[in-house]
Structures are given as structure tokens and as C-alpha cells.
């Protein structure tokens, strides 16, 4: 089957772009995509890492501290999964805006897997919920099957996303994959590209992510007497171990992954990724677990930064693959739409700033208190502002809506 030459590929890819164009400069979508991807993957790390740790700790549950750690990680995984899904919607959206040809072609080529992804995720999520209901003190070993099934399904989800990402930046092969020997295969049953080091990199990131999370977790509960020191020390020790090995794995796998990237040395953020990961590895390798007491939030912050750097590196790899073919996301046709652009940014800042600030501040403070929590002045004010902003939003929505509707239809 034919494979289009590079010069034609550029035309081919640009023709696939949506003729409607985009409502704001492409750079906005690119940055939002990278930022929200980083946010999403931080919670994916907690799902994969927390889930695996919950299983590992469950195996040692005869020790009450390990049993408690398993139950805690089970809950962390459950909530992180909800957040990973909802946060994943944003990068999924922004990818489709500026990289629509790549995303759609890659998805349709493996369509059955794409649909499998959704139902595997639902099934895995259900299994994890069952495990979270049953992982109580005295739980039998059989309950572990729910957790293992869930983790395997989540790994399958990771595999599908990984394949779609790689396929999407190999447009020269799409025609060959779609119509081998000139006969279109519309089943969507096949996957066509895979990179083991890149795939495993994200599992190493999950180990590092849950490790770092545990360092912060141990610090967060230091004032609560129902979180005794031995339990917090166990969390810190396990967190330290998982983070160290996780970062080591990330470093090794990043080298192997980047070695397969064309002109890798020319991409500054690939270097930055290596520097960030190596720095964190060295910092963690030097001290003992107790040396990290009180530094959990700092390391959490550093981990967020390193994840963001990985996100930018990913984007750099994508651009490195597509620009030489003649596809430049920055050249996307812009049909500026100020009203909807304003809608998003005002909501993002207003609702995101106040409603989410209220929820997060309230949960943060309530979690630090043993027993009932009474909101202080700041949280009470935030709650009033949050309600006011969402109600104002509705008033504007209907005010503008009725004006436009009456103007257009009456």
C-alpha cells in the first residue's frame, strides 16, 4: 500500500483540519492542553501508584499499620480516579482543537480499542469501588481480586492512550495501517504502534507520584492524634522508598524513550526533563526518610513542576514529529469569537477561583481537625462568594441568552 511522501503529508494533514477554524489564537489552546494534561496525569499517578500500593499493603494487612495504609490508599485511589477522569476532559478537548487530524485519525484506526477504553474504565472503576467497600479490617484475601482486576483494567486504559498518542504522530503510516494491501480494514480492531519505555515511564511516574504524595500526607496529618507517629513514619518511609525507585525508573526509562526520538538532543525540554528527574532523584537518594519530615509539601510542589516539564517535553516531541511534515498548529485558521473566549476565562477565574477555593479550603481545614469542624470566617465568606458567583453566572447566562434568542427569533 502507498505511503504518502513528506511533501504530500503536509497537505494531507492540513486538509483534515476542521474548516470552522478555532475561536482564539492556537497558542492559548496549546498551553491549556499542556497545563491540564499535567494536572490530569498527576491524578493518574495517584490512581496507578495508589492502587498498586493499596494492593501491596493489603498483602501485609496483618500488621495494623499496613492494613490502615492499604485502606487509606484505597480511598485515595478512588477519589483520584474521579478527579483524573474529570481533569482528563480538558486536555482531551484542547488536543482535538489544534491536533484534530492526528487525534481523529489515530482514534478511528483503533476504534474498537477506543470504545474498549471507556468500558474498561467503567468496569475498573466499579471493581475499585467494590474493593473500597470491602477493604475493611479483617478483609479476606479474596477481596484482592477486585483490586487486581481494577489495576489491570487501568493499565489497559494506559496502554490504549499510549497507543493512540504514538499513532497520532506517525501520519506517514496511517494509510498503510488503514488499508493494508489496498483493502480498507474498518474494524478498528488493531493497534499499530507501541513504545515500551514510554509506556513504562508513566508507571514509574506513578510510583514516584504516590511516594511524594505520602511524604506530604504524613506531614498533613501530623497534628491529628488519630494519626499516630508510627503510622505517619511508615507512610513517610514507604513514600520515600517508592519515590526513590520511581524516580530512578523514570530517569532510566526517559533516557531509553528519548533515545528513540528523532533529534532528541535538539529539544531543550527533553534535557530539562532529565535534569528535573535527576535532581529529584539525587535529593531523595541523599537523606533518610526522617530527613523529609516537614518537607512533604515542598517535594509535592517540585513533583508538580517536574510533571509540567514532562508535559512540555511531550509537546516538544509531538511538534518535532509534525513540523517537518508541514503541520504547524500555530498556523490554524482563527475565527476569533470574543464572547465565548470571555465566557471561558471569566468562568475559569471567577468560578474556578471562588467555588473551587471554597471547596478546597473547607476540605483542607476540615481534614486537619479531629472531630467536627466549624467553618471559620474566611471559609464562611468564601462559601458566600462561591454561591454568589454561581448565581450571578446563571443570571448572566439567561440575560444574554434571552437577548440573543429574542433578537434572532422574534
Amino acid at each position: 500500500m502507498q505511503t504518502a511522501p513528506h511533501a504530500d503529508l503536509g497537505t494531507f494533514l492540513n486538509v483534515l483540519r476542521d474548516p470552522a477554524g478555532i475561536p482564539a489564537p492556537p497558542v492559548l489552546f496549546q498551553w491549556l492542553m499542556v497545563l491540564t494534561w499535567a494536572l490530569h496525569i498527576l491524578f493518574v499517578n495517584l490512581v496507578l501508584g495508589g492502587g498498586t500500593l493499596a494492593i501491596a499493603a493489603f498483602l501485609r494487612r496483618k500488621d495494623p499499620l499496613w492494613g490502615r495504609l492499604s485502606r487509606a490508599m484505597t480511598q485515595v485511589t478512588k477519589i483520584a480516579l474521579s478527579l483524573a477522569i474529570v481533569l482528563g476532559v480538558a486536555p482531551l478537548l484542547f488536543t482535538q482543537v489544534i491536533y484534530d487530524p492526528m487525534w481523529y485519525a489515530s482514534n478511528v484506526l483503533s476504534a474498537a480499542w477506543v470504545m474498549g477504553f471507556i468500558y474498561a474504565l467503567g468496569l475498573g472503576y466499579t471493581c475499585w469501588f467494590v474493593f473500597s467497600f470491602r477493604n475493611k479490617e479483617g478483609a479476606s484475601a479474596g477481596e484482592l481480586l477486585w483490586a487486581i482486576a481494577a489495576i489491570l483494567l487501568f493499565a489497559l486504559n494506559g496502554f490504549v492512550m499510549h497507543v493512540l498518542s504514538i499513532q497520532s504522530i506517525l501520519p506517514a503510516k496511517w494509510l498503510e495501517w488503514y488499508a493494508p494491501q489496498g483493502i480498507p480494514d474498518m474494524s478498528g480492531l488493531k493497534v499499530h504502534a507501541f513504545s515500551l519505555p514510554r509506556f513504562l515511564f508513566f508507571f514509574a511516574a506513578a510510583a514516584a507520584g504516590i511516594g511524594i504524595f505520602l511524604l506530604a500526607y504524613a506531614d498533613y496529618f501530623r497534628l491529628r492524634s488519630d494519626f499516630p507517629a508510627p503510622y505517619r513514619e511508615l507512610c513517610r518511609r514507604i513514600g520515600w522508598q517508592w519515590a526513590r525507585w520511581g524516580f530512578l525508573g523514570q530517569v532510566v526509562l526517559a533516557i531509553t524513550w528519548f533515545a528513540g526520538v528523532e533529534k532528541a538532543a535538539a529539544h531543550p525540554f527533553l534535557w530539562m526533563t532529565m535534569i528535573a528527574l535527576l535532581s529529584l532523584l539525587i535529593l531523595l537518594w541523599r537523606g533518610k526518610p526522617e530527613a523529609f519530615a516537614g518537607k512533604g509539601y515542598l517535594y509535592q510542589g517540585l513533583f508538580v513542576v517536574s510533571t509540567l516539564v514532562v508535559g512540555i517535553a511531550r509537546e516538544e516531541i509531538r511538534l518535532g514529529a509534525l513540523l517537518p511534515l508541514g503541520y504547524d498548529p500555530m498556523s490554524y485558521k482563527v475565527n476569533l469569537d470574543l464572547a465565548s473566549t470571555l465566557l471561558f476565562f471569566t468562568t475559569f477565574l471567577g468560578v474556578g477561583g471562588l467555588a473551587l477555593a471554597f471547596l478546597i479550603a473547607m476540605l483542607w481545614q476540615a481534614g486537619k481537625v479531629e472531630g467536627p469542624y466549624v467553618a471559620g470566617k474566611t471559609v464562611a465568606r468564601l462559601s458566600d462568594f462561591a454561591l454568589a458567583i454561581v448565581l450571578t453566572w446563571i443570571a448572566i447566562f439567561f440575560g444574554v441568552g434571552l437577548f440573543v434568542w429574542l433578537r434572532n427569533f422574534h
Binding site: 500500500m1 502507498q2 486538509v15 483534515l16 474548516p19 470552522a20 475561536p23 482564539a24 491549556l32 474529570v86 481533569l87 476532559v89 482531551l92 482535538q96 484534530d100 487525534w103 485519525a105 482514534n107 478511528v108 484506526l109 476504534a111 470504545m115 471507556i118 467503567g122 472503576y125 496511517w174 494509510l175 488499508a179 489496498g182 483493502i183 480498507p184 480494514d185 474498518m186 474494524s187 475565527n335 464572547a339 465565548s340 473566549t341 465566557l343 468562568t347 468560578v351 467555588a355 473551587l356 471547596l359 473547607m362 476540605l363 476540615a366 467536627p372 467553618a375 464562611a380 462559601s383 462561591a386 454561591l387 454561581v390 453566572w393 446563571i394 441568552g401 440573543v404 434568542w405 434572532n408
Partner: protein, 462 residues
């Protein structure tokens, strides 16, 4: 000659990719509508608990909330992106058109989603842990944020039906697309349905309340909410019909999937009886009956309703400018979009499709059947199964199972070519393409039911 921006085709034998979308969408709608309805039920119940000093009502909210986490926040939140994924693979240009018009609306909805998801966990897990007043505010915030996700998505869904006039095509403005003719009618109808869904699903949890008086009080409260929704649904439906495009009214009158009206009217009656029973004798309501009622609502209420809504849009998938088969049917000057039908008429579909192999761009007697299969998959399979026993308006059956290509040709050359049938797209294929498509359809009628119309097979030189 430039290609059209068309993608590969995914085809699921017998059910078509359309049903995959439909199944995913129907699950999502039940889960999401229940969730939003329940969020208001929580807010109202908690206000009652606060004002009348009935903290035991919070226990019901907590139990319903945990149920909701599984029911709505697993399957609802998974099938939400699932709709995107299924439309991506079944109708990539349709979803692309929507995303490129409404990206900021979806991004705004995402802000509320995040608020909603954090809100539901906060709501469920802090009952009894934080002071009552703060919790009440949290519950109202959750309810309003949930409602705002609805307000935003309805603008997009209703645009899928049509913009309602010519203005959007000229301006390309998101406001003109979003506040289309259908939006407020559809929004109100869905809000009414949410009350019904929240009441029916909530009755599963009511059945678990042990104390009789408390059970009765909650049951009557939610039954009342359900009744309000149910009573509003009927007049709102008539308003909704008034805001539909003329093509949809024709389909509504004569071309809906079989027994749709019977199912929907029947479910209205069954739900009314069920809610009456819930209010009258809640102690006689075991959980399995409540669960069965939820299942009935899904299978005989939502499924036919969703199939009808999908049918009413025909032959378009978005804004009456993108056909179900991914072809752009008209100019949208406000966005600089050009109709693709003239190019297809001039050059043929296969020649312009970038994912059609070179060997099939030119139709010969040797590749005619394969070319016909590919044309059918591209141009027809979004709405029709290609097998004669397929479940989605099977193409061979639409031609009465004829094995004579000339009979099929008459249709392809006439009404289909010119777009004379309101619910069918215009497909102005080239002479040779029509011949190949007719040949394939006649062959599909002739072939045994095991014909795998999509399985890769060697060109048949028959």
C-alpha cells in the same frame, strides 16, 4: 483537485457505529440527569432538614449520595467522555465541527464539572463532620454547579438539531449557534426529566430506609418532585416540537423508529402509576422493584427517546451543515466553510477521500464490489447497517431485498443524487460510483446473513 477532510471509517457489523454511540449516550443521560436532579433533591431536603431540625434526612442524603457516586459518578463520568470517544470514532467530522465551534463552551462546562465532582465527594463525606450551615451552602453550590453543566451542554445539543435560522451561517458567532431556537425548550424538557429520574432512582434508596414514618416522609417528598417533572414534561414536549426544523417534523410524523410513541406514552403512564404508588404506600416498595423501574425507564423511556432524537436530526449531525456521513452540505460564510457536494459531484467521492487507497480511486469491473463496499461504508453506514439482517435500518432491506442493481440505481440516480428526500442526505456520486454502490447493495441482499460487509476481502471480479 484538493481532497476533502475526511477520516477513515469505523464500522461495527450489524449494529453500525451509530448504536455504539447511542448505547453509550443513553447510559450517560440516565446517570447525568439523575445526578443533576438528585443534587436539587439534596439541596431541598437538606434545607428542610435545617429548617425543621430533622437531621435524619441527612442520613438519606448521605446514602443516596454514596449510591450516586457509583451510579452517576462512575458510569456517568465515564460515559460522558465516552460519548466524545464514540462520536470521535463514529462521526469524527461531526464532533470536530462541534468542538471547533464550541470549544470554550465545553471548557466552561469543564470548570463546573470539576466543581461538581469535588462537590459531590465533599458533600457525601463531610455530612456530620462540618457545621450544618456550611454543609447546606456546599450542597446548594453542588446543585447549582450541576445545573450549570446542563445549561451549557444543552446549547451544544440543541445546535446539533439546528441553529434555528440563517443568522449563524452568516455570522459564525458562538452566541448565535448556542442560543438557537431549540435551546430553551430542550433545556426545560430535560430539567423536567431530571426530576423524574432523580425520583425514580432515589426510590431505590428510599426502600432501604427502615423507620416507617421517615420513609413515608422522604418517599412523598421525592414522589412530589417526580410528579412535578412528569406533569411538566407533556406541555414542554409540545413546545419542543414547535422549535424543531421542518425536516424533523416530517420524521416525527411518519419516520420514527417502530413503536416509539407507544413506548414513550406507555412509560409516562407507568411512571405516573409508580410515583403514585411511591407516595401512597412506600412501605410496599422493595428495592428490586425500584431498581426494575429504573431499568424500565432506561430501556423503554430513554432508549427510544434518544433514538428518536437522533432520527429527528437526520440527515445532519450538526447545525444542519454536516451530514451524518461526514460530508459538509452547505456553505457557512461566517466560518469560511464551503459545501463539499459540488466537488463530489464533479470528481466523485472516492477520488476526493484521502483515506481511499489509490487502487480504488478508479473503479474497474475487477474492483467494483470492493469499491461499492467502501462507498457504502463511507456514505451510508453512519445510519444504515450494511448487512441484510442488520439492526440499524439495514440498507438491503431498504431496497426491499432486491438483488437487481438497476432497482437500486433508480434510487441512487434520482432522489439520493438530488437530495429530494428530506431525511436523507444528497449524495451526488459519479456514474461509476453509483453503479458500484448499486452493485454492492444488490450483492448484500443476495448474500447469506453471514456476509461480512466490512471484513477485508479480496476484490471480486464477478
Amino acid at each position: 483537485m484538493e481532497s476533502l477532510g475526511m477520516y477513515p471509517t469505523w464500522y461495527v457489523p450489524y449494529i453500525g457505529s451509530g448504536w455504539v454511540m447511542g448505547i453509550t449516550g443513553t447510559i450517560h443521560i440516565l446517570a447525568s440527569h439523575t445526578s443533576i436532579g438528585a443534587s436539587f433533591l439534596f439541596a431541598l431536603l437538606e434545607t428542610k432538614a435545617y429548617r425543621e431540625n430533622k437531621p435524619w434526612l441527612l442520613d438519606y442524603i448521605r446514602r443516596y449520595g454514596v449510591f450516586l457516586l457509583v451510579f452517576s459518578y462512575i458510569w456517568g463520568s465515564v460515559t460522558g467522555p465516552g460519548i466524545w470517544y464514540s462520536t470521535t470514532v463514529a462521526s469524527p467530522r461531526g464532533i470536530s465541527g462541534l468542538i471547533h465551534n464550541f470549544v470554550w463552551v465545553w471548557a466552561t462546562e469543564w470548570v463546573f464539572f470539576v466543581t461538581e465532582v469535588i462537590g459531590v465527594y465533599a458533600l457525601v463525606y463531610t455530612i456530620g463532620k462540618i457545621d450544618a450551615k456550611t454543609h447546606l451552602k456546599l450542597t446548594w453550590l453542588f446543585a447549582i454547579a450541576s445545573l450549570e453543566t446542563l445549561l451549557l451542554i444543552i446549547g451544544i445539543l440543541s445546535f446539533m438539531m439546528w441553529p434555528g435560522g440563517e443568522r449563524w451561517y452568516r455570522t459564525g458567532s458562538v452566541l448565535d449557534a448556542f442560543y438557537n431556537l431549540n435551546i430553551f425548550a430542550q433545556m426545560s424538557m430535560r430539567a423536567a426529566f431530571m426530576c423524574v429520574a432523580a425520583a425514580v432512582v432515589g426510590s431505590i434508596v428510599v426502600a432501604g430506609v427502615r423507620e416507617k414514618e421517615r420513609r413515608t416522609e422522604i418517599a412523598r417528598f421525592i414522589a412530589k418532585m417526580g410528579f412535578v417533572g412528569l406533569a411538566a414534561l407533556v406541555p414542554l414536549f409540545f413546545w419542543y416540537v414547535q422549535t424543531l426544523p421542518p425536516t424533523a417534523k416530517i420524521i416525527l410524523a411518519a419516520r420514527l423508529p417502530a413503536h416509539t410513541s407507544e413506548f414513550l406514552i406507555g412509560m409516562l403512564g407507568v411512571t405516573a402509576l409508580y410515583l403514585a404508588w411511591l407516595a401512597w404506600k412506600p412501605s410496599w416498595l422493595p428495592s428490586p422493584v425500584a431498581a426494575l423501574m429504573t431499568l424500565l425507564l432506561l430501556l423503554f423511556g430513554l432508549w427510544p427517546e434518544e433514538r428518536s432524537r437522533e432520527s429527528l436530526r437526520k440527515p445532519y449531525v450538526a447545525g444542519q451543515y454536516i451530514y451524518g456521513n461526514q460530508v459538509i452540505s452547505r456553505d457557512v460564510p461566517g466560518k469560511g466553510i464551503r459545501a463539499e457536494l459540488p466537488a463530489i459531484q464533479e470528481h466523485g467521492l472516492l477520488a476526493l477521500h484521502p483515506f481511499v487507497p489509490v487502487a480504488l480511486k478508479e473503479i474497474t469491473p475487477q474492483n467494483r464490489l470492493e469499491a461499492g463496499r467502501v462507498i457504502a461504508a463511507i456514505a451510508c453506514a453512519n445510519c444504515h447497517s450494511l448487512e441484510k439482517t442488520g439492526l440499524l435500518r439495514p440498507l438491503p432491506a431498504k431496497f426491499g431485498g432486491t438483488t437487481d442493481p438497476q432497482v437500486v440505481r433508480a434510487f441512487l440516480d434520482g432522489p439520493l443524487y438530488t437530495g429530494a428526500i428530506p431525511y436523507m442526505p444528497a449524495i451526488p456520486l459519479s456514474e461509476k460510483e453509483r453503479e458500484a454502490l448499486a452493485y454492492f447493495i444488490a450483492h448484500a441482499s443476495e448474500a447469506p446473513t453471514s456476509l461480512s460487509a466490512v471484513g477485508a476481502k479480496s476484490p471480486n471480479p464477478r
